[in-house]
């Protein structure tokens, strides 16, 4: 079957190819296409030795784990999740990873589901540099002292708004209430999630402990969400949803994370990020070691987690994402102006303690059911 390329074109062009030739050509083409996926080339074979990581979009770029590359000369394998629940579903159904990247409030349920294994922090070179308060996050350590979570990046959930398009009074009195302001009906958005959406309503509704609400508080929260539904353009599921719309003026205010604020400001859009009087939410995400981890890749998995909490990775997190980082040394590598521009300072502990810290949500399924019903217009 060694037709020269030109012959093949010529044959096809003139129609001079006999049926038999065509038949055998078709046959070999069939075999070739069927075997292609098996033959993926030598370049990919090496990746088999590296850990499989389930992470967020953006954390797969080399800058975040340069230290790992420097040590091993190759990159780990990344799978991307849209949110922790998607990743959780995939893991429960049997997908295997060595390392995962949830936010702290999910660690408890993940551990209860038996998918995490304790982390030996003495094997992490950068553990000593972690901001002290990030070593005491509720749920990350068991009563026996086993650590299940290594904090990496942290930030806030608050209101992002266009000061040029809303009542100036919101610049003096920053409040979640802007997301319920009927004057901006159809120009508001909320996160399509319990932690960044429903909890916002709980905080605005004045719940004592938003993460463990009483029945009466749940009722208030539900009513607020119902009241808000007709005012919303949509519930957002990714930063793209809100950043494009904020840039266009389609939205005037939305709940968001710091990164959208940093990005929009970087593009010269007139936006502000609130520190609501009811309190902004603080979240921390980081890395977990999976119980399904391949023992042979354990050493490299530790190296990878170490790379993610290195000061160099921290600088990328602060500069590009506008998030805080767990490694205190990262803050020393960034100038005061750059920190101030992102609402950060050299004293991360202070910021971490100022907001409402995200915790595991009590009665999560019931709240989710309520949220679904409200979204369905019931």
């Amino acid at each position: 079957m060694d037709y020269k390329k030109d012959d093949l074109v010529e044959m096809l062009a003139t129609g001079k190819m006999s049926r038999r030739k065509f038949q055998s050509l078709l046959g070999s083409l069939g075999i070739a296409t069927v075997t292609l996926p098996v033959w993926t080339g030598p370049a990919r074979a090496a990746a088999e030795d590296h850990p499989d990581v389930l992470t967020w979009e953006g954390w797969d770029i080399p800058e975040h784990h340069q230290e790992y590359f420097d040590k091993h000369g190759e990159y780990p394998n990344f799978s991307i999740m849209g949110d922790e629940e998607e990743g959780f579903a995939k893991i429960l159904a049997g997908a295997r990873y060595d390392v995962s990247h949830p936010c702290s409030y999910k660690v408890e349920i993940w551990r209860d589901a038996g998918i995490l294994q304790p982390i030996d922090v003495s094997r992490l070179d950068h553990w000593g540099d972690i901001v002290p308060s990030l070593k005491q996050i509720p749920g990350m350590t068991t009563a026996d002292g086993d650590v299940y979570f290594v904090a990496s990046e942290w930030g806030h959930t608050s209101v992002l708004y266009r000061p040029d398009l809303v009542d100036p009074k919101y610049q003096e009195e920053e409040t979640w209430g802007i997301l319920w302001d009927e004057r901006y009906a159809g120009r508001l958005s909320m996160a399509d999630s319990l932690i960044d959406g429903v909890m916002v309503a709980a905080i605005y509704g004045g719940a004592e402990d938003p993460f463990n609400m009483t029945d009466a508080e749940v009722e208030v929260t539900g009513d607020l969400l119902r009241k808000q539904l007709p005012l919303l353009r949509y519930y957002w599921t990714s930063p793209t949803d809100i950043e494009n719309a904020m840039a266009a003026g389609e939205l005037v205010a939305t709940s968001s994370w710091n990164d959208s604020y940093t990005a929009l400001k970087g593009e010269g859009i007139n936006v502000k990020y609130m520190n609501p009087k009811e309190g902004a939410m603080t979240w921390v995400c980081g890395f977990c070691l999976m119980s399904a981890a391949d023992p042979e890749k354990l050493e490299k998995s530790y190296d990878l987690i170490d790379a993610f909490i290195s000061p160099e990775s921290g600088v990328v997190t602060i500069m590009d994402e506008g998030y805080g980082h767990a490694n205190a040394k990262a803050f020393d590598l960034v100038s005061d102006e750059d920190l101030a521009e992102r609402g950060l300072s050299k004293n991360p502990d202070e910021l971490l303690n100022s907001g409402i810290f995200q915790e595991p949500i009590g009665n999560e399924p019931v709240l989710q059911g309520l949220f679904e019903e409200i979204k369905a217009g019931l």
């Binding site: 949110d83 629940e85 998607e86 959780f88 579903a89 429960l92 349920i109 209860d112 589901a113 038996g114 159809g186 399509d192 999630s193 319990l194 539904l229 007709p230 919303l232 353009r233 949509y234 519930y235 599921t237 719309a245 266009a248 003026g249 389609e250 999560e364 399924p365 989710q368 059911g369 679904e372 019903e373 979204k375 369905a376 217009g377 019931l378």
Partner: protein
């Protein structure tokens, strides 16, 4: 094909072979077997898992493995599930109708009015669908959006002063996006069945004095029905379970049953209920398909 009396005698050696050659069913099964084996192997476990799951119960992160009908009764007790299922079926049926009605004339045009390069036209129809679906949905957001193509166009023409907000983030946007997304799936089967029609039948009808329109209604349309049915099924069935499009362009009012099921396997963490809901929605879709097929059979009898 009449059997001669001498044949059974000859068949002693190859009795099975003769039986095989004679029995239509056996030969049909043999020919069907590769496909069937693949589908059975691929589906048997998923179906077993799904069914079993639907009779179990979720408790926090554990699944309690005792038989219960709770998940099924939840469907009838809580308004949300059947309401959303009904809404999904309605949206999908509407999408199917719109898609087929829009696609048929194009398929007809390619089959009857394009003389050369038909394959080229067919490929031309499929090319837009080689760019990612997600990108196309995103593009629709840009077209229908607040500062989108339509709004900017209308504003620059001075027809409106404020952007129209009703274009996007509602069930209509879902219908437009899906009618676009499934166009190729509708055009191809219709074209294929139109192409098959024996032209002499159409000429005969015209020679017998039928008008062009009546020829279409009485000859072309009924003969192309297999393609129309195939297209309707291929569009209707998958769109009922759709969840990506409603999330992206449906806004707060465009949720479909797929979203609920997805949430059961994700955020709400209730796999058994999710399984039960998908079984119910599958059965409902099957029922709807039977109604559709019954309807066309009736139509065929009536016209043909």
């Amino acid at each position: 094909m009449s059997a001669s009396p001498s044949e059974p005698v000859r068949a002693t050696r190859g009795g099975v072979r003769v039986w095989f050659m004679r029995s239509e069913s056996a030969r049909g099964y043999a020919l069907l077997s590769p496909t069937l084996v693949v589908v059975v192997l691929g589906l048997i476990f998923p179906i077993v898992i799904l069914t079993t799951l639907s009779f179990w119960k979720q408790d926090y992160v554990d699944i309690i493995r005792t038989f219960t009908l709770e998940n099924y009764s939840a469907f009838f007790e809580k308004k949300i599930y059947y309401l959303i299922l009904y809404r999904s079926i309605r949206i999908s049926a509407f999408v199917t109708l719109v898609t087929i009605v829009l696609a048929y004339p194009l398929a007809y045009f390619i089959a009857f009015h394009v003389q050369k390069n038909k394959i080229m036209w067919i490929i031309l129809v499929t090319i837009p669908f080689w760019t990612s679906y997600l990108l196309r949905v995103f593009a629709w957001k840009v077209i229908l959006g607040y500062n989108g193509v339509i709004n900017s166009g209308l504003i620059s023409l001075g027809l409106i002063s404020e952007p129209l907000e009703f274009l996007l983030y509602n069930p209509t946007a879902v219908v437009i996006t899906l009618a676009h997304a499934w166009a190729a799936v509708a055009i191809l089967p219709i074209y294929v069945s139109l192409e098959k029609i024996d032209r002499s039948l159409i000429e005969a009808a015209r020679d017998l004095g039928e008008s062009a329109f009546m020829t279409f209604v009485r000859v072309t349309l009924p003969l192309s029905l297999p393609g129309v049915i195939a297209a309707s099924l291929l569009v209707f069935i998958p769109t009922v379970g759709e969840y990506v499009t409603p999330t992206l362009v449906g806004g707060t009012r465009g949720i479909m049953i797929g979203n609920i099921i997805q949430s059961m396997f994700g955020k709400a963490l209730n796999w058994p209920l999710g399984a039960a809901l998908s079984i119910i929605s599958m059965l409902t879709v099957t029922l709807a398909v039977c109604v559709l097929l019954g309807g066309t059979r009736w139509f065929r009898k009536k016209v043909g």
